[in-house]
Symmetry: C2
């Protein structure tokens, strides 16, 4: 997975079309981090200041509840964007979370289980 | 220009990030039509029931005022999406409007000048 590919996140959080938004990132990892941050923000509202902990199955559930989510990832070889589905995103989030459990960053507040 | 290529419109109408939205269409023409419809809707609010008329320079001005606008167009040959800029969109809108002046559809309400 290339670490610096312009990546566009297309998201629709509810069945309402006006819940569609997009954002772009300098890498796939940044886009996946942003997705996890959205979930953490959602959790922190519920946790009311307590520690925010979650496992990958909860992120999957969050992703499944979105009306739509996809990524467009720039491919240097073609100069075009590869479309990636919800299933692909779930797989990548899993890989990313697994990697962080094996190599946690110091000061990481989120306790990740998988 | 292929007439049936899945086309994603990414738009940001103001400097506010929450004005970002996206929509997808079955063809480039449908996406360009949607952009013109957005402008017509904007005009019709100002026209208060009167006829809506505009020329291509006004659509250009409308497109230039958007904080961001781009298209992602599916390319069957690569299975990937080609990113298209504001400048490209303006050129295509011009071509489309010129074509319609030469071959107007019956009942077309919009008077197009260029």
């Amino acid at each position: 997975m290339s670490t610096s590919s312009h990546t566009i996140l297309l998201i629709q959080t509810s069945p309402r079309l006006d819940s569609r938004t997009w954002a772009d990132y300098e890498s796939i990892t940044d886009a996946l981090d942003a997705i996890c941050s959205m979930y953490e923000e959602f959790l922190s509202k519920k946790a009311a200041g307590g520690p925010v902990t979650y496992d990958v199955s909860q992120v999957y559930e969050f992703l499944d509840k979105l009306s739509d989510v996809s990524l467009m990832i720039f491919n240097r070889e073609t100069g075009q964007y590869i479309g990636r589905t919800r299933a692909w995103i779930k797989q990548q989030v899993y890989e990313m979370m697994r990697g962080r459990c094996e190599h946690p960053k110091s000061g990481e507040k989120v306790i990740v289980g998988y």
